[in-house]
Structure formats: C-alpha cells, structure tokens
C-alpha cells in the first residue's frame, strides 16, 4: 500500500520503520530537514521536505493516489486538517493523532463530521492496555475482543504452575477458557491435546475475564483484580489511567515531582491520592505503603527512572510492576531483568496502526471486525461476524474441515461467550474469534479447506 506519514517525530518514525519493513511504500513529510535526513538515512522511505497542510507538498507526496494518510505532527488540530486536505485530494483512508484530553469526548463527532477513519491517541491506548492488565495482573498482556467480552492473554509459565509437565488433554480447564497457542524458543505452535507445558513457555489463552481468573486460581496463582495501585509521574497517560482505574474501583496513589503539576492533577482527578514527591526516593515510597500495592506503574518521562523504580518495587514484593519504556533497546533488557509487562505508548500506537493497515489490506468483505497480530507477528487473532451465506453454518464443527494451523477460539452468540466443542454449531450473526498461525484470511469462509 502507498502510505503517507506526515510528521516524523517519535511515533511517525517508528511507524515509518515498521510499515516499510512490511513492504509498504512509505512517503514521509516533515518540515524539519535534519529529521528527514535521519529518516532517509535509516529507512527505505521517500522523504519530502514541506508542510503537511500545503496542498502542493501533499500532491508531491502522492496524496491523490495514496491508500492511507497518517498525520502525527505535534499539533492535534493540524493533524485533523491534514487528513481533511488529503482526503479531499483523493487519499482513501486517514488516521489523525489527537492527544489532547479535552478532545476525548469529541472524537466520535470528529470522525463523523470530518470523515476521519481512525483517531490515534497513543497515551489513551496505552492507558487502556494497562487498565486491562490491572484486571488480570498475572498476565503479560491482555487484548480485548468482541466488545471487551473476550480476552486473549499472554502468560509466561512459571515454576510450580500446575500446568507444567502434563499433557493438555489430562488437564481440566475451567469453563470459558481455551489454550490457543504456545511460544517456545521463538517458535509458535497451535496447541493440541498432546502439548506439554514447560517453564518459560509463553502461552496464549482465550476466554472471559471470570474464566481466566478461575484458570489462574487453579494453576496456583492468587490472581485477582488489582485493588491498590501506585502511579509514578503525573503525565497525560497517568491521568487517563487514573480515571480508568477509578472506574474499575481501584484505589490510586499518584506521585508527581512538580508541585504545580500536582495542583492541576488534583483539580482534574477525583478520588485519587496525589502526592508531591520524588518517585525514586525509597523513604517516601515505603511511607506511602509501596509494599501493600498490587501494582506499581512508572510513567515518568525517563525510561531509566521508570525501569529502576519498577525493579525496586518488584524487589519490595509488589506483584506487578509496569514501567513505561520508549527506547526499543531497553525492552529486551527489561524482560531479562524479570519485568514481563512493559508499556510503550509509541509501540502501542504503532501496533494499533499496523493492525489497522493489516485489516485494510486483508478485508474485502465487511465480515472481518478486527485483526490483531500476537507474539511479535507470529500469530494472529481475527474477529469475524459470521455472514448469512457462509458454508460453515448449520453444521457441528466436527463435521467441518478447517485449514491447518487455525483454531476457533471463542464464539459469542447473543450474550453468551462459548468455547466451542465439536458439537457446537455456528449461526449467522455470531461473533467468532479465530486464532491462527500465518493463515491469510480475507473472508470468513477462508477458514475452511
């Protein structure tokens, strides 16, 4: 696809990098020559120096024929205008980055009134990813499907888990949970009855929140929703997260260094304990009951500070520590140090766009609702609404022939979430979540052989 990226900041650059790796034709537009130079040196992309709101520049970048424009300049209003101009010139799809919390409620209105196809809010997306993790703190990663009724979680098998050393068929799973796949030494497999778990495997589980909670209880984790959390750094993302946490009934303690910012936080957040202090100071953390926290989330501007304070929290017995880390080279390092969950707004945003682009490319029918790539792109979770004319309907699943490396993870019928058995029958209108390993699905019936 021909993709135009306006604004080559951190997010823009990361997007250009990932998208050009996937063999899309990328054209980057930016006002700053030095930024462009580093882009053109490091990436296989076209760079055009100019303003994104200049029609001439957009035309030069090929906006008339482009498939997608992504506006990620530092200015929300500019991004919206750029998308409007590009759409007017003939670009098929548009994504604008809108970060200002004040626009949060107007986003849907914008989308409709200004024909935006998608709005990108990295901090918001990252905050909601953390909030999902808070409801299931054992997991490394939680992705929501079927209007947040089904989740797919990633979990690293630990020593002493009941799973280890027994074939899958001998294990009794709670209702509404299915083991879909496992990643061992970088290799992903779709799990079958003969699969035996080992310590260190990354397993992927699909199911409802309640079911997954039960599952983790059974394998020996006292996994419950986090009740008390501590957030270091009162950034924009922290505000989003605190609001979400409050809605989930979680007690929030937020530590921010800057007194003026603290005032503003106290004004905009209700029911949160705002503490003015240094998040790396041991005394202060301990006096604020660090050891009693269920989760510790470090969201300051400094990757290093976040990583170190998270390590400290873990050492002090906090079960879950989530640092915000933007530098890619620290991600691996953090995993090695025993921090499984890391949040990086830039990569969350990148992920969202990549999924969006993938869905744009794959979908020819409107049946595909969502496409998520999991396990660093080794697996995909695709959500379909079963179409009326599908050949897969009306018959029990055991009578259908499916493609290999593909699994029907869950089925949502009306209000019920069902983990399908061989007897299950799919009906038109059901929402089906398919877990697959590199199977290209354009339409729902592509799942059949």
């Amino acid at each position: 696809m021909d993709i135009l990226i306006v604004g080559s900041g951190k997010t823009g650059f990361a997007l250009a990098k990932e998208l050009s790796k996937q063999n899309h034709n990328i054209c980057v537009v930016d006002l700053r020559q030095d930024v462009l130079e580093s882009s053109s040196n490091m990436l296989d992309v076209n760079c055009i120096n100019g303003s994104g709101i200049n029609m001439g520049t957009l035309k030069e970048a090929g906006a008339q024929t482009a498939d997608l424009i992504i506006a990620t300049t530092g200015n929300d209003e500019l991004n919206v205008i750029i998308c409007v101009i590009a759409k007017g010139l003939g670009t098929s799809n548009s994504v604008a980055r809108i970060r200002n919390p004040e626009y949060l409620d107007e986003v849907e209105l914008f989308k409709k009134a200004l024909v935006l196809d998608r709005v990108l809010n990295p901090e918001l997306e990252a905050a909601s990813e953390i909030s999902r993790l808070l409801s299931l703190p054992v997991a490394n990663k939680v992705d929501a499907f079927a209007n947040e009724r089904v989740e797919i979680v990633e979990y690293t098998v630990e020593k002493g888990d009941l799973l280890v050393g027994r074939p899958l068929s001998k294990l009794s799973f709670p209702a509404n949970v299915l083991l879909c796949g496992a990643e061992r030494k970088g290799e992903l497999i779709i799990t079958k009855g003969d699969y035996i778990c080992e310590v260190g495997d990354n397993i992927y589980l699909a199911g409802t929140l309640v079911g997954l909670n039960n599952f983790f209880k059974i394998i020996g984790h006292t996994s419950h929703k986090a009740k008390n959390i501590m957030i270091i750094g009162g950034s924009r993302m922290a505000v989003y997260l605190a609001r979400m946490a409050r809605r989930m009934g979680i007690n929030v303690r937020m530590i921010e260094r800057n007194p003026i910012r603290c005032e503003a936080l106290a004004k905009s957040l209700d029911d949160c304990l705002i503490i003015c202090g240094d998040g790396t100071e041991e005394e202060m953390l301990l006096s604020e009951d660090l050891e009693k926290m269920d989760a510790f989330i470090a969201l300051t501007d400094s990757d290093e500070e976040n990583l170190l304070s998270s390590l400290y929290a873990k050492k002090r017995g906090v079960p879950k520590a989530i640092p915000k880390i933007n530098r890619q080279n620290y991600l691996e390092l953090a995993a090695e140090l025993g921090i499984e969950s890391i949040i990086s707004p830039r990569y969350v945003a990148c992920d969202h766009i990549l999924r969006y682009v993938q869905a744009l490319r794959n979908t020819t029918s409107s049946a595909m609702q969502k496409l998520y790539s999991l396990a660093n792109g080794k697996a995909e979770a695709v959500e379909f609404t079963v179409p009326g004319n599908s050949k897969a309907t009306g018959k029990p699943l055991e009578h259908l022939k499916f493609k290999p490396d593909l699994l029907i993870a869950t089925l949502v019928h009306g209000k019920d979430v069902i983990i399908p058995t061989g007897k299950q029958v799919m009906r038109p209108g059901d929402q089906v979540l398919i877990f697959s390993k590199k199977v290209v699905l354009h339409e729902f019936d592509d799942i059949l052989l």
């Binding site: 021909d2 054209c27 040196n41 490091m42 990436l43 296989d44 992309v45 076209n46």
Partner: protein, 501 residues
Amino acid sequence: MNYRMIARLCAFCLLIEAAFMLIPTAYAVYAGENVQSFLIPIAIAIAIGLPIILFLKPRSKSLYAREGWFSAGIIWIVISLLGALPFSFSGMFKSYIDCFVEIVSGFTTTGSSILKTVEQLPRSILMWRSLTNWIGGIGVLVFLLALMPVSEVDMRSLHLLRAESPGPTASKFVPKMAQTAKLMCIIYFVMTALTAIALVIAKMPFYDSILHAWSAAGTGGFSCKNLSIAYYNSTAINYILGVSMLLFSVNFIVFFNLIIRQFKSILKNTEFLFHIAVVVVSIVLITININRLFPSVGQSVEHAFFQVTTIISTTGFASTDFNLWPTFSKSLLLLLMLMGGCAGSTAGGIKAIRSVILLKTARREIGRLTHPRMVNPVKIGGKIVEDAQVRSVMVFFIIYVFVIIASVLLLSLDNFDFLTTFSATMATVNNIGPGFGMVGATGNFSEFSALSKLVMSFGMLLGRLELYPIIFIFAPGTFKMHFHEMTGDRGKRRIGKRQEG
C-alpha cells in the same frame, strides 16, 4: 566497519560483472575468436565470489555511511582489476597497467584510450570495451541493488546508492530503493535499445550500432573505429547519437516523470532547464564561430550540435577533428567539460545542479555587498537549498579544483605542451575522453608515462564516483580506523581465549 558485508557486496559485483562478460564471450564463440581471454576472468570471478557469498556470512547486514563510501570505492577498484584481465589475456596491450587504465576509462565512462589504433583489436574485446561504458554509466551498484534480493541488504542501502550516484543528493523515484534501482535499469535499457535501433535504421552496421549505443548510453565514448563517429560521415548518425547523448546527460527522473505523466514537474526542473539552455546557447555560439570552416550552415550546426552534446554529456565521440577549431570554440568546450551533465544521469563533470547552486550562491554573496543585512536563501525551483548543502557543494568544487591542479602538476612531469597536459586532466577527471592537442579527437593517451597513466586512472575514478569514495579509501584516517579495528578485534579474541583457558 562491516568488512564481511563489504566483501559480500564485492563478491556480488564480481559475479554480476562475470555475467556481463558472457555477452562478449558468446560473441567470441560466434565469431571464432579467442574465448579464453574471457573464460579465465569469469572463472576467477566465480572462484573468488561464490565462496565469499556461500561461506562468509556477515554477522549483521547494516551498512552505515562509512560502509557506503568504502564499499563503493572498493567495488569500483575490484571490478576494474578483474575487467582488465580480458584485455591482458588478449595480448594486444603492452602491460597490465595499460589494460587497467583502459578498463578504468571504460567503467568510469571516460572513453580515453591508450591505444593508437583500436580496429586491430579482436571484435569481442572491442565489445567488452564498449560494454564497460554501459555498465559504468548507470553504475554497477544500481545493477546490484536491482538484482539483489531485498533481504540481502539493510534498508540503509541508500548510502550505497548515494556513494555511487552522481549529484549532490541521491533521489529515489519511488519510496522503495530496490524498486527505484529496477526502474532506473529499465529506463536505461529501453533507451539504449531505442538508440541502437535508430542507428541500425540510419544504416550503421548492426555490431557497430550496438557498441555505439552502449557507449552513448553510458556517455563513455569508446568507439570501435579509429576515426570514431567521423568514420561513418553520416548526418543522420551524427544527429541520432547527438540526441541520444543529450538525453543520457539528463536526470533520469525527467524520464520517470514523463512515464507517470508529470509534465509539470519536468518544466519546473531547474537543473533540466539550465542544462538545455546551456546546450542551446553553446551550439549557437560555436556555430557562429566555426561557420567559415564548413561549406554550409547546416554542416556547421550539425558539428556544433554533435560536439556540444558529446562534450557536455562527457561522452567524447568525435564527428570531426575539433582540434582544428578556433580557440573560442575550444575554450567553450573546455568549460562545458567541467560542467558536465545533470545529476542522476550517466554523465560526468561537476553536474549542472552544482553549477546552478554555485552561480546562485555567488549572486547572493554579491548582492550582500550592497545590502549587507539582506536575507535571501539560495532557492532552486522555489525550494530553499539548505546552507549545509550549499556548503557541501562549495567544498566539493574546491576539492575538485584541487584534484585538477594536482593532476595537472603530476602530468606535467611528462613535459608535453600545456594544452595537452591541461586538457588531458580535464578529459580524465571529468570523464570526457578526448582533450585537445596531442590527446585530441584523433590522438590518444599512449605516449604518457606509466605514472601519468595511473594518475589519470585515479582521476577518472575520482571524477566518476564524485571524489568522496576514493578519497575515503585512501584517507589516512581510514587506514588508522582499519588498524584500530583489526588490532581491537584481535585484542578481544585474546581475552576470549584467556577466559576459555
């Protein structure tokens, strides 16, 4: 520095060169000429290249700026060393140095010959000579990028293209590097084929047409006749080659714009317009100046047109002995030699875009004399040229002049007259081919000493790769860097062994 990756690139280039050698080999088989002079070099290329590709796996595929400069320089030297072998095995050259000079002259699309007469050479060798013009014109790295699988090179391969492609900035037609290289090759191939077809229609023999099309496309200027194009004495051929050379001295992006029907951007291309204007003005001036030498105005225009296009495109074909022309015409041609064609073409010289930037900068600085506080950035096509780029163009020009001065000084040791010495330098550094005086249209470079020949091959490579890759290889700092890296590596290995023990 990533030596393994550089070695791998060199190996790929050797194999590509060997593949090109199959063309004259096939001809040698067909004409019953000595095949061995090609088979041995091909065998050598495979013997060196294949093991490197198969067994010397690079640890990382990243190429940074310095790897880009270094590999461009090294690759050109390596392919010249191999390319000289067919000449050497043919036994028609006095020494390997002569062969090397001839092949460098071919690959750099210079087209100066150290041979007194070329017609005595086997026709397959002549074919290889002209083919090197064609390969060197667009650059072996462009072929490499077009042919190499995408996974082979890191995305930073722009450094490679930039190191080889003429002009201050390397521009891509389309976002993908490999795609750009492919498009360039296609445009190049099609235009060469069209030239050859036109020449055949103009009644040039088939073999000669192919060879001249190759030389014209690469703006090299190797001919298979002693008299060059004057041999055919045909107005049609003169015009066909003139137009062809002019087209090949134009930035390929113009043809790309033509294909995608972006006619407006062609008319906005300052460099292209400047280039055409210079050509037209020069033709008019030279026609007036040489008018009394020819029986009709038509003939004056024809020769003025041919000579201006052949010089400004840095090809160096000859339709007549311009050594006999008046001094004004010769001086003008000497200036055109320095300017050369457009960036992103196959031509040499300092390039039209740099001339434009230099002229505009000069005008700005003179303007500042009257309005010291004037703010007027250099603009080209309505776009501001960043000061950093202006500076780099000026530095390029200064180094270029230094190279010319140094080359003139060294060539003077041979004690030829000044016009010969100076024009020989201009003709080699700017990749033209013939100069004036002894090295004029009917002369050659055979009389120069071995030292001068090496200096000239050096100058040709400097000119073709636009100084930096070659300077980078021979810069003292680079040697120091190699030294440090090698000793540093060894130090690490020693520590590793100690730990094992």
